[in-house]
Symmetry: none
């Protein structure tokens, strides 16, 4: 791994444009002999691949299945073992809650407890989302502040919500206020350090008040909290790589992640076409673009092989509009695999393609997991993509004399 100090000392700002296309969950596993990428018809990729070099990336490390947080950290050149993005923060980013360094975010469940405080249903019978909204609005009005910390509650789907405490000196080294299974007593949080004790007291006071206030809302008469977290102190991509980076994504979570690393979030629409139009519109104003295509991951999570193939083909059709912008360096890859066979993220490496004027094109002819494995880039950690893109954009000076 390149020491941060070294990389920082080598970067120079230039006019070259870098574009990173991230196809969420692109990698797959064979079903009846073919992966989704192998089954898809991708004439535009097939025409482009011979001009590029290919390889396989490991999002994190052999065998590690990444969540979206760590996989995106790695794609953007950050060590996912060094910077941790907690569950509370990820949930907040996912529903577009802007977080500041004063905010402590935590993921919540409405739950059902009996008269002795024993949890009988960790999901409160999966109350309807509409009911959730109603309860959150009530709680938000009922409890606005505790000992100087301002409280905000944001409904999610069904029984889920995000709770944010805002105040000076709040800490996130807290145990979950959640015994993790039914049949146990609901419990408060504990500070893992001396400094976190005051925060734990505030949270526990909130829990008490909230449980009292929720009495009329059976089955949602209690709450469980897990994943207390604050946004990590991450140096921006501008600081580290002298880039002016911008992000284009339709889902708030990816915008939120990009914002954590100091990217400008470009307003865009819901479709691939709109995302690519946004890229075109802002192409002159930034020198690094992250553009995120979500659909293959959703189809993979649903276990829908055919839908994932269709999502890939749809992306293939839009790619020529990106090629036409002639970025100096273009990378196409994924954040992680989502094989429809597994219906979930997985540990498998993803194909990657890199185009610039300064590559030795290899003899790879298709952008698939098995074709790319023979490419010149070899198999390498996702964290090395950014140095490679910077080098190909002639944005890295020589190391040493």
């Amino acid at each position: 791994m390149i020491p941060d100090k070294v990389l920082k000392s080598l970067v120079v700002q230039t006019e070259s444009k870098l574009v990173m296309v991230v196809i969420d969950g692109i990698g797959g596993l064979p079903v009846r002999g073919k992966t989704e990428l192998e089954a898809a018809k991708t004439p535009n990729l097939d025409r482009f691949v011979p001009h590029a070099i290919c390889g396989l990336i490991d999002p994190i490390s052999y065998g590690i299945t990444p969540g979206s947080g760590p996989s995106h950290l790695a794609l953007f050149g950050y060590d996912p073992f060094q910077y941790e993005i907690g569950r509370g923060v990820m949930e907040a980013l996912g529903i577009d809650i802007p977080l500041s360094k004063y905010d402590l975010a935590v993921r919540g469940n409405f739950a059902t407890v009996d008269e002795k405080g024993i949890i009988v249903d960790r999901r409160a019978g999966r109350i309807p989302t509409e009911k959730n909204k109603e309860i959150c609005e009530f709680l938000g009005n009922e409890i606005k502040e505790i000992e100087g910390a301002r409280i905000s509650i944001y409904p999610g789907r069904e029984h889920r919500f995000v709770l944010v405490f805002r105040g000076d000196g709040l800490k996130d080294d807290l145990t979950d206020a959640d015994p993790q299974k039914d049949g146990l007593k609901a419990k408060g949080t504990e500070g893992r350090s001396q400094e976190a004790r005051r925060t734990a007291e505030i949270v526990n006071l909130y829990l008490k008040k909230a449980t009292d206030a929720l009495r009329p809302f059976h089955p949602a008469n209690s709450i469980l909290l897990r994943g207390f977290s604050k946004i990590p102190n991450i140096p921006t991509m501008s600081e580290r790589f002298k880039l002016r980076p911008a992000a284009i994504a339709t889902y708030p979570m990816y915008c939120g992640l990009a914002r954590l690393m100091g990217m400008e979030i470009l307003k865009t629409g819901e479709t691939l076409r709109e995302e690519v139009e946004t890229l075109k519109k802002y192409f002159d104003q930034y020198d690094f673009f992250y553009i995120h295509f979500k659909k293959p991951d959703m189809a993979g999570e649903d276990g829908n092989f055919k839908m994932k193939v269709i999502a890939i083909e749809e992306i293939d059709r839009i790619l020529p509009s990106i090629f036409k912008m002639e970025p100096d360096v273009l990378v196409i890859t994924g954040d992680h695999s989502t094989p429809s066979l597994l219906k979930s993220h997985s540990w498998h490496p993803n194909p990657i393609l890199l185009f610039s004027k300064y590559v030795r094109p290899d003899d790879i002819r298709r952008f698939t997991e098995r074709h790319c494995q023979r490419g010149q880039l070899g198999r390498f950690p996702a964290m090395d993509i950014i140095p490679l893109m910077l080098a190909n954009g002639l944005k890295l000076k020589k190391f040493g004399a």
Copy 2:
């Protein structure tokens, strides 16, 4: 990366002979479809490759373009991020100045300042090398010692020189005495630590005296100094690998680098033939040989594709003389790529070939970037070459029981 302690505990001295042929700047980029190696006729390599295994090495890390210092450290099995060879030291090695641990070396420029001390030309109009020699001789006689530190000044080309301070307790954590651009005032150096303050004072006294003495030498009426450095404290290859290593190179810098790692420098001539004859002459006396062929890099730096092809073909013609010596382990590779397309070092991996009795020859048929990418060695960091050579020379015991 193999921990140093482990590697050291495994090495044994044996009679087997290891030869590392380093073709400077060997890797290239395609011009009209072919790289220099692909365009070259290399019948001798072509005959040899089927008996060897091939791969690609990354000198430092994906995307990092190495200077000769870091790339040679890596080739010789040293972590280039751990050991830094500063610019002053590299410049001194490049003009064959022997350095001891008491020496502080720095790269100098003669420059032009106006009557207010503002730099108007950082290169003093690129004075002729002859003039430079004359001024250095004058300054060398004028200022021989400052507060116990002996001073030596060595002319380079045009406006460049190397200055060496020799004395007890000199430190190299000093800022450059160089504002880096025209229009600013020439400035002294500052110690980055308490311990370096005395050294900074000595340097600044020198600067004052030199500037006074240079008054009659307009446009070379001032000097700028950058890259203060001492030779790093590097354990020798003998200590680390129980080798008796020797180096054959026509350029002083490569001899100097090899000497830093404890290699014996074998006196040789200017031609490939003379270098190979030197290898033959000393073949019985050492068990590790580094032999350096410079020309392809020079042609690459000049952007001269054809000349690089010719340089490669010339090397191919001399190789049978090395094959005939029957080294137990033979590696042929490069320290970094120097594509004529870029006219500079680059970040691209280099082909590598390893021959010994104990390889599983792969099906690679030519020693080129794109053929070697499919070789059995895969793509790997240059730092792993030495362990691989030691193993193939049966110089490494089993690790663990």
